[in-house]
Homo-oligomer: 306 residues x 2
């Protein structure tokens, strides 16, 4: 193809008890990217609107992914990528992952679908590496696969896609404060008690079972994070108040999206997810902090052609 | 009912990466217990064959469970329990759990099915507490539920039953050496690196997904324990040689059953499980250690009326 336009969804990684191994994409929230094949070799990046993100290909998340893919295929042509960045950087809902996975997905179409899903995730991980120093896959994987993506292992990369229960919706409150991924990694304890780990893996095992059986009650009971959330929540003003408001609104459970500052809550049905949005808003309306709210179905597909 | 006879299966707990939270029962291997209602109150225990197990009800695993159940229902009658103990104590395939869960299951029938599944597991946990000092549920739960039983939480007790893939078989080699549960608990490190825990919960999450989708390949890839097995395997002579023999025979994966010394291997199909039994036998035939071999389908039901 000569020119294509794609949608690259925002993603929620970690999902409470599933730190570093699980994520899912949003149906409604995401970036739009346009890819234009050029006779000139190399990668040109154009950012739409106001953006502080670098546009040199080597320093741009989408750019490094595209460069690597062109190089691997020694394609003899170039590409111009226009990015309409609708996911705010630093939000904790996979802004860099959308650019990285979007680039991998779009470039694959431009190149004639020569790479498989695992390869696309691996290319996208190069973008994550540039963005945060760590080539993690828990945002880019679901951004490519859709549904819930479980990253079992990195060497070799082993990603399992799990269909999302049909009525599962997410509500996200994004407080516009900056939490650096590097800071939120640094505060984590490097060791933990075996007893705590066992409790956590009982929960993640149950969460996976609940996804497979669409058992919303069990899904709710499993959304408990006794390791990461107690530490990282200190960076997020009124975190527990928002959590309580979401609970009172009837959500299944809530937690920190990625490394924050966004807070996500999962609900059965759009009605509860919308009610939760109102309740979560109310908590933040008491503060001077600006915030965004997103309500979305869990997307069955990741990046998609528009 | 006045008199009943039941089968209480052997169980494999831990299942590699799922330390302390998962277990499954065997179709073929287990104890046989007979319950006779008596006008005299109290519990009488009779052990068939040679057994060093105590027969005073208060000191017997089945006895304490039966006593607690009679007391809860203030039934006004007593019971005589005859136990044909076919699972060797200290084998690591849930010998005490079979007595405890069998007692809970049988007594419930004698009492007119007055307790629900969770209550039966809780009663059976009293037997485990007597046997090992810890009221763990990862053997008694599958012994009651059948299939794979996942113990998500203890307070409150939350057990999730997962159907076993249809062609899943287990091969067990039981070296007749003594490994005390208390010893095998004591050697475990109380802390572990977060990185290690994350790898382990990626595996357990994948294992659960594999069970739900009958994905035997994924099941095999997920059967990896980087926390407990490296430590406990030192108690089991030729552990890695048996593991290798099982792998070469085409099994999906293997590990320590419970706290050992039994070694289990999972296979797709009876043929591979039988081939694995031969291969595992061969390794132990080189030693002076006596051993038993069991080959069995994963049982869809736990304790059952005969």
């Amino acid at each position: 193809m000569e020119k294509i336009k794609i949608f690259a969804p925002a993603t929620v990684a970690n999902v409470s008890c599933a730190f570093d191994v699980l994520g899912f994409p949003l149906q409604e929230t995401g970036d739009v990217m346009t890819f234009l094949k050029t006779s000139e070799t190399g990668v040109k990046i154009r950012m739409l609107g106001n953006s502080n993100l670098p546009t040199e290909a080597e320093r741009n998340v989408a750019g490094v992914v595209a460069l690597a893919m062109l190089e691997r295929k020694s394609s003899g042509f170039g590409v111009e990528i226009e990015i309409d960045k609708r996911i705010k950087p630093g939000s904790g809902i996979g802004s860099s992952a959308a650019s990285a996975a979007g680039a991998a997905f779009g470039m694959n179409l431009i190149l004639g679908e020569v790479f498989n899903q695992n390869e696309l995730i691996e290319f996208a991980m190069l973008g994550e590496k540039l963005a945060s120093g760590v080539a993690h896959a828990d945002n880019v994987a679901p951004c490519i696969t859709g549904g819930f993506a479980l990253v079992r292992s990195y060497e070799p990369l082993d990603v399992i896609r799990i269909e999302s229960p049909d009525e599962l919706y997410v509500t996200i409150l994004h407080p516009q404060i900056e939490v650096k991924t590097s800071d939120s990694r640094r505060v984590l304890k490097k060791e933990l008690p075996l007893k705590t780990a066992v409790k956590q893996w009982g929960n993640i095992a149950s969460l996976i079972s609940a996804l497979h059986t669409s058992d919303y009650e069990l899904l709710g009971r499993s959304l408990e994070d006794i390791i990461i959330e107690p530490i990282r929540s200190v960076f997020i003003p009124l975190f527990y108040e928002v959590k309580q408001a979401a609970k009172d609104a009837g959500t299944l459970g809530s937690g920190i999206s990625g490394s924050g500052p966004s807070i996500f809550a999962l609900s059965k049905g759009l009605e509860t997810a919308t009610k939760a949005a109102e309740a979560m808003k109310k908590v933040y309306a008491q503060t001077d902090i600006e915030f965004d709210i997103h309500v979305s179905k869990i997307a069955a597909t990741g990046c998609r052609l528009l």
